[in-house]
């Protein structure tokens, strides 16, 4: 059976950049930039893009383009069964992320419905809470979380994903041709609104004015490198899967450069919009992506002198489009790998995968519904999501990117890749080889080491304490999630690696 192919280069670029541009680009970038000193963060972030992000993107896309296989099979061609195992592990890790990502996306859908009116009322009633009435937008958010509506919303988002990936790149390309341009248009409208607010422009000065003193801190560099790695969707195997649908002779270097620059351009304009709103309304970002997405930005929109409903709908539509264009790529990465190896019909793989995925996403949503102790210090559901995100996202991607750089850099080796990929873009091959073989493994290894060291000091390590009402659960939950994540991903990866593939 011939492997399908993207109908155009633009279709591929839209899909790849749509995959990279997700919820994190719109809100996580701004939260991270503010936390790490805004101006002090931006220059390290740009340097990380050119010295780590783009070379890794070239590796992932080059791998898919040269081998014409999804991630596990591409890794098999380089490093045999050990490589294939890492490939499957990356995709199964991505499956965990898909499950809770879709849960978060379902809350975005809930907020989108709210943006038509109820979200902008002063308070929301919360019968299950110790505090019966809470100010919006927080109140409305928790009213979604604590009702069975959230399960229906999870189903709705899964159905949307299934519809889009049902015919693979054919339907994905159709969807992203609408989604990605709309995302850009909506974001530009938000920027115009942000900078035309009184003093909004000064928020932009805040984002870009460098702080050289803070720039010498390792923490800022670590944050900037992690932001680039996560923002570009590296370490998921998605880009390898997408590039495998391109002809071998495609310009993989330029594809990688275009995708990376588009992703970071979007982050750039998102930063302009969000920082102008933050400054205009003196809103201080706090804690996390979710806080930024569900509380901080809506709070800014609620302060607008006019057009609150319009801009609210616009913002949540933007989040929905960005989230969907990413979640479909996460789903496609695993599906294409299974089809590649076992030649199983897409429909069958999609039914099995989405059934497991729906159960997983509901498991992230449901504890917040059935937990009657939403008393103010955290819930089981949010803790489960937080812990899974911590291991699967923060560690999973870092480990895969590190192994990928070592395997392709030293075993393939990378010189063979550079000889086999064509480029119309100025491509310094010698520098690329040095970056992949030396700089990237050293930097990623250092970040991984620093993160592991941090476990023994911080929230998830030996000193970890959650303010859950069930005191025993707070001790059991973090290691249980870690062990469950490791055992599940390793066991299934082992089975998929050992299982004989269909003859080709």
């Amino acid at each position: 059976m011939d492997k399908p192919q993207w109908s155009s280069k633009i279709g591929f670029i839209l899909a790849a950049s749509g995959s990279a541009i997700g919820l994190g680009n719109i809100v996580f970038f701004s939260a991270n930039a503010y936390k790490l000193g805004a101006g002090a963060f931006y220059i390290p972030y740009l340097l990380s893009l050119f010295f780590i992000g783009i070379p890794l993107m070239v590796l992932e896309m080059g791998l898919g383009g040269v081998t014409k296989r999804a991630f596990p099979q591409a890794m098999y061609k380089i490093a045999g069964q050990k490589g294939e195992f890492i490939g499957w592990w990356a995709l199964l890790n991505a499956t965990f992320i898909t499950m809770y990502y879709i849960t978060i996306l379902s809350w975005v859908l809930g907020m989108w419905f709210g943006a038509f009116g109820k979200l902008w009322e002063p308070t929301a009633t919360l019968p299950k809470f110790a505090v019966k009435e809470l100010a919006n937008p927080a109140g409305f958010f928790f009213s979604i979380l604590s009702s069975y509506k959230s399960v229906l919303l999870v189903l709705a988002i899964w159905i949307l994903n299934i519809v889009i990936v049902r015919r693979g790149i054919e339907t994905i390309e159709k969807a992203v041709r609408w989604f990605v341009p709309l995302m850009w248009i909506f974001m530009i409208i938000l920027i115009i609104r942000g900078i035309t607010l009184p003093y909004g422009i000064e928020g932009i000065y805040l984002l870009f004015t460098p702080n050289f003193e803070l720039m010498s801190s390792w923490e800022v560099w670590q944050g900037a490198i992690s932001q680039i790695l996560f923002s570009l969707s590296l370490g998921f195997g998605i880009m390898t899967a997408y590039a495998s649908y391109l002809p071998k002779e495609s310009d993989h270097v330029n594809n990688a450069v275009a995708t990376s620059l588009l992703n970071c351009s979007f982050e750039y304009i998102a930063g302009l919009a969000i920082f102008s709103i933050l400054f205009a309304f003196s809103i201080v970002p706090k804690a996390s992506t979710l806080t930024m997405m569900f509380f901080i930005v809506p709070q800014g929109i609620a302060h607008l002198p006019a057009g609150v409903i319009t801009f609210g709908i616009l913002f949540f539509t933007l989040l929905l489009l960005a989230g969907l264009s990413s979640s479909i790529s996460l789903i496609e990465a695993l599906i294409s790998a299974i089809i590649d190896k076992f030649n199983t019909p897409r429909r069958k793989v999609l039914i099995v995968f989405s059934t497991i995925g729906i159960v997983g996403s509901i498991l992230f949503a449901l504890p917040k519904v059935v937990d009657s102790h939403l008393a103010g210090n955290g819930t089981l559901g949010l803790t489960l999501l937080d812990l899974t995100d911590h291991w699967a996202f923060s560690y999973g991607l870092l480990i895969v990117a590190l192994v990928e750089a070592i395997v392709i850099g030293w075993l393939f080796p990378v010189e063979r890749l550079t000889d086999n990929i064509s480029s119309s873009f100025p491509f310094p091959k010698k520098l690329f080889v040095v970056l992949v073989k030396y700089l990237i493994p050293v930097v990623l290894g250092a970040i991984l080491f620093a993160s592991i060291k941090g476990e023994f000091l911080g929230l998830y390590g030996t000193q970890m304490q959650f303010d859950l009402e069930w005191s025993n659960l707070s001790k059991i939950l973090p290691p249980t999630v870690l062990i469950f994540w490791l055992i599940t991903t390793i066991t299934i990866s082992f089975i998929l690696t050992k299982k004989k593939g269909a003859p080709r």
Binding site: S250, S265, V284
Partner: protein, 135 residues
């Protein structure tokens, strides 16, 4: 999402306070007055709260005071934290830049040219030739 559960603490910090700043918004290096509706004992300014660059400044007060003078040292987001005899109240404020920040504008323009210009150039090169046939 490390401190996700802090979501629940958010609404507490959003409660409106009765701290007034005249003139508002303050400008870096320019004297302003912070006024209160009850006598206060302490005033602290937190520059860039919730960030790694967070910095504190204690303002001299002769309690009980209803008005203090203050010269903002940094531009950006800040938090005014006021302690009265019975409680502590806060208000987030934006401090304007005293001058046009040239370094910030240069970073913004250069980043914009590199990212948006680079992406456009890259897409232009890609679209110059059609997709090669499948092999």
């Amino acid at each position: 999402m490390r401190t996700l559960f802090l979501l629940f603490l958010m609404p507490v910090s959003l409660i409106a306070t009765k701290i007034e700043i005249e003139p508002y918004p303050p400008i870096k290096g320019t004297n302003v007055y912070i006024k209160f509706d009850t006598p206060i004992t302490e005033v602290d300014i937190v520059y860039r709260p919730n960030s790694r660059t967070s910095k504190n400044e204690k303002i001299q007060v002769s309690p009980p005071a209803r008005k203090v003078s203050w010269v903002p040292k940094d531009a950006g987001l800040a938090m005014v934290k006021v302690t009265t005899e019975s409680n502590t109240i806060t208000r987030n404020i934006s401090i304007r830049f005293a001058h046009f920040p040239f370094s910030g504008i240069i970073v913004m323009v250069v980043a914009g040219i590199i990212l948006l210009g680079g992406a456009s150039f890259s897409i232009y090169l890609l679209t110059k030739t059609p997709l090669p046939p499948s092999t």
